[in-house]
Symmetry: C2
Subunit: 281 residues, 2 copies
Amino acid sequence: MILDGKGLAKQNEITLKNRVIELKKKFGITPSLRVILVGESPASIAYVNSKKKACDRVGIDGEIIRLPSDISEEVLIDKIESLNHDDAVDGILIQLPLPKHINETFVLNKVSPSKDVDGLHTINAGKLFTKQPGVVPATPLGVIMLLKHYQIPLEGKYAVVVGRSNLVGMPLAKLLNDADATVTVVHRKTEDITRFTKEADILCVAVGKPNFITKDMVKPGSVVVDVGINRVGESLVGDVDFEEIKDIASYITPVPGGVGPMTISALLFNVLFQYEVKYHD
Amino acid sequence: MILDGKGLAKQNEITLKNRVIELKKKFGITPSLRVILVGESPASIAYVNSKKKACDRVGIDGEIIRLPSDISEEVLIDKIESLNHDDAVDGILIQLPLPKHINETFVLNKVSPSKDVDGLHTINAGKLFTKQPGVVPATPLGVIMLLKHYQIPLEGKYAVVVGRSNLVGMPLAKLLNDADATVTVVHRKTEDITRFTKEADILCVAVGKPNFITKDMVKPGSVVVDVGINRVGESLVGDVDFEEIKDIASYITPVPGGVGPMTISALLFNVLFQYEVKYHD
């Protein structure tokens, strides 16, 4: 069965749209997101455009701020600070990756934790790590929303996360652990990845390598979540060999149309999360 | 073979003592630690006393601040704030657990991140989670120091951590992952813990249950690290059935004399870490 992220994201947008209407009525203020895009990467342009469009669909005031790829760290931080101080801005997203001359961690930490909608500020990462409520990176949050929607049992199940990035692998592993799964994180230094993936009830893959996970690495009947989005020629493919695996998995996410739309959905929820924290305080 | 934490901690104290002498010479200031103990728990009294004694041995100015168990959160926080502002104080440790009427997370976050020597401030937890340099909880740090001292290979090895506390299990899993082990965290909701523990090259146990890990749960030739300290009658025992397992493990920590002394050793390193950050800035 397909874990239809695209479909769920659409459903979520109805919820989000209604909530935006409610919030506007209650507080008289439209939730707003500013997306900072540095440079001209076609993939990044496509991502920020779909975020902007999703904002439009649900009534969030979304705006893309485009900055040149040779921008200095200082000027970029000035821009972030001005958004931090702009009371009309509820969420700030820095589209990654940033150009090489910019220290990503340093810049991400300049976003006010209370406007961070990617959960990448160190204090928000710390909240996640220590199980305090807070904003959670959008992709892992989207994955969990998708699994919960399909009522995939997590408690006591064995989950394997392939990849250990700050953006996806590590926070996803933490969220699965919080949901009482038993979690193993495997990575490029793991000896014999298959030994782990083949045991997984839930297999989540975020490595950015086309068709990295093949049929022989997957347990029949398992749930396979493919976070990868890789451009191969004209088409997008995931990290999982979908055609081979779709018949042995009990559930699988397609690429595109699986985790991608859920990431955007989770981002919109994060914007409302920050908005609500702000106006309830 | 025994992983002799007591012995290594003693060796470390020579290093620490020399470093304190150097630092005092260089900056003219004695590194200092304030340990806040709320209440009368005999176990906590014993712990803070050994911390104080360890400070004395290496030349750190250590002082225990005892507060009554019925202290209000507000007064406790006032005390913490005054230590935060006291330029002569480099490290502040709040002995856990705190009485039930006090919000532990809230209070721990009142310690200045730059005087936190337990790595429990949310921002320090976030640094650990996102692999930024920073202060790391003492027990997991002590475990890693012990494994490294004995040159136990971690890269590519399979490590299982039993227990998922913010204080030990989760940060230890993260440090093992950072050392390129493949890590599984098991916990009370794990179905069939043995399935995981029995595969582990490195098994770390922090559950606080006497003899929780029995021989049949351990892989012959593995490295067993016992973080538990449980009082049974007059004696202290770990979470691991030491007598049963010592002959099948390649390395094992005793209790007492294993992880306990390493925790104190790591704490002293953390005090110097914060001192050096402060005076190098």
